[in-house]
Point group: C2
Chain length 346, copies 2
DNA sequence: TCCTCCTGCTCACTCGATTTAACATCGCCG
DNA sequence: CGGCGATGTTAAATCGAGTGAGCAGGAGGA
């Protein structure tokens, strides 16, 4: 029982053009070495056109073992909104090479992840992207170790895989550079830090790298960091509290580096409540460049997570087998200059 | 030239179990009508287990014309962040029925959309979801009219397709209800309106429906709307300007219904600048429930776009052929009560 | 003893493509 | 005039499964 309604196949085209299926295949797949006469070629192309022939990729894949398909499995996307850009970038690179993208999310559940990967392997994807929503280490499971894979926004410790991550350390340096250029020296404080919490006693990758960059750039300029308020990055509330206690102190900072825009939002709220004005009394620079940054008044200078470029690069590397030497690719984080930095007040 | 490394196939299992390939197929696909002895069944299952057999879905699909795959094509996702939830919901419903999801974005380019849909059709997807990031009308192209399709967050004028949209009108009623319950009567103003702009001279769907709901609920209570500030919804700036002129007037409103959270954010900023406090001097209720709503101080009461549920429902309907009568499904928008509403000051 | 019926399994075809090897036909050269 | 190479085309196998028809062998009945 062939389950009903079929599309136009090569056999139909062959019949229409008065040649064999083989010939049709040769013409349509453009094999130059097979010497088909111009007339036959024309008849076939004409028939294909007329009948609206479209190849059945499923059948093609079965024979060629190539599906023109890549799978992207992330841990979670809804929580960090900018992930959309990452997927978009991945999609863009896939389409450029005529691939379609399977997208799925494990929700951090290993069993769910296993199933998803298995589903993609069963469907013979050409390659896999393992994505994390905030940079961290990741160990691909045994089932995919022999499979073309790229890690997106995560690092593997074994060095077996190609990884694509943002260049957080350089971003840290850039943040400091902006403040130094504006004339800030000793009053620079950090809100956020490495994000040491119960769940992450060593801090998070982005935090550690940003801090490293910040400290390096400051010491290169011979400036001492006035202090770091370690706190959770998850909501403006934490930034507010940190800033409140800073601004109420007897030697408030002249500039604050916030580890993300949410914290910066909290700092803005605190400054407002303390009757201080950004950037006149307090310069603020931040990371991530979420939409929030452009909505704040004054608009917030922030160093962007290059989500689009991350996704793009990952898939692009995945589909260029020649460039798939295991390596860590660090994508630059662009500075978005806005109005939250000014010279320190004297 | 069979291009190299192959996985375990049914033929391998058959050899291992000492039966024919046919028998293996019958056992593994669980056909009860074929009378296979218990011993044979056990040997086959054992062999499959031992060899780590996994069916090749590509081959299966070729024969059965079922790919266990659905395609989701949206216009754009990166701009409106909450789309992530929508995709997640869609994914969830797909997985429940053992389907995987192709995700793609047309970027509002009809030619790109055509290509994406064609790519999915060529890959024999079982069904398509056409998604829009903000509710609007959509006319599926000729190429997919005979294909199982569901419209997600958009409506078709022809009534040929199943559509899933948020119940905006009811949300409008709910917003008013919250204010009436708090004791507001004549001082209720709307910021945003139908969002009449150059690009949308008739306003947008969400705007018109919300306004309809708002007006209906007010008139049902015998209350007159104090006024509507029609404006662009895209950034807090517009909300700020609208609110500024309202609050500086001689009869400022006691409550404002904002057509989305960005506008509400602008209203907060304006209230702050005018020395007014939310909710003591001004109650605010809003729509969408973006993250922003919970970050604001005081936290903003907002009526959520049920993105997750929208995506979930769309795919769920798509994969239940019995329920695929063309119809419009309106998904309720949940109220998130927070701290931005109080009784009017006398 | 022959016929039928059931049980348990297999043969051979099919899905829609790719790909290898071979087969006509023709002209040309020795 | 026979063999050979070039040219244009096709038959048949293959990818990995699903599936209708059929075939042994034993039990049971007439």
């Amino acid at each position: 029982m062939p389950p009903s309604p079929s599309r136009v196949t090569q056999a139909d085209v062959a019949r229409h053009a008065g040649v064999s299926r083989t010939t049709v295949s040769f013409v349509l797949s453009g094999r130059e070495d097979m010497r088909i006469s111009i007339e036959a070629r024309q008849r076939i192309l004409g028939a294909a056109q007329e009948l609206g022939y479209r190849p059945n990729l499923t059948a093609q894949s079965l024979r060629t073992r190539k599906t023109y398909t890549v799978g992207l499995v992330s841990d979670r996307v809804a929580s960090t909104h900018y992930a959309g850009e990452m997927i978009q970038g991945a999609l863009e690179a896939a389409l450029e090479r005529d691939h379609l993208l399977y997208f799925a999310e494990s929700g951090d559940d290993p069993e769910a992840e296993r199933k998803l990967l298995q589903g993609m392997l069963d469907r013979q994807v050409d390659g896999l992207v393992h994505a994390a929503m905030s940079t961290r280490t990741y160990r691909p499971s045994e089932q995919v170790r022999s499979y073309p894979s790229v890690l997106l926004n995560c690092l593997d410790e074994t060095g077996e895989f190609t990884c694509v991550v943002p260049d957080e350390e350089e971003a840290g340096r850039q943040a400091v550079k902006l403040l130094l250029e504006a004339g800030h020296r000793d009053g620079v404080h950090v809100v956020g830090g490495s994000q040491v919490t119960r769940r992450s006693p060593d801090g998070v990758y982005a935090g550690r790298e940003r801090m490293r960059g910040i400290e390096e750039a400051l010491s290169a300029a011979g400036v001492r960091l006035s202090g770091v308020s370690e706190c959770d990055w998850s909501s403006p509330e934490h930034g507010y509290r940190a800033a409140r206690s800073l601004l109420d102190s007897e030697a408030p900072p002249t500039a604050v580096v916030c580890c993300n825009d949410r914290l910066a939002f909290g700092v803005y709220q605190a400054a407002g409540d303390c009757g201080m004005s950004v950037p006149r009394d307090l310069s603020v620079v931040s990371f991530d460049d979420s939409e929030l940054a452009s909505w704040l008044r004054p608009a917030l200078t922030s160093i962007a997570l290059p989500h689009h470029e991350l996704g793009r690069t990952a898939v692009s590397l995945l589909l260029s087998p020649d460039e798939r030497e295991p390596a860590v690719h660090r994508i630059p984080m662009p500075v978005r200059r806005r109005e939250s930095i000014a010279a320190p007040r004297r």
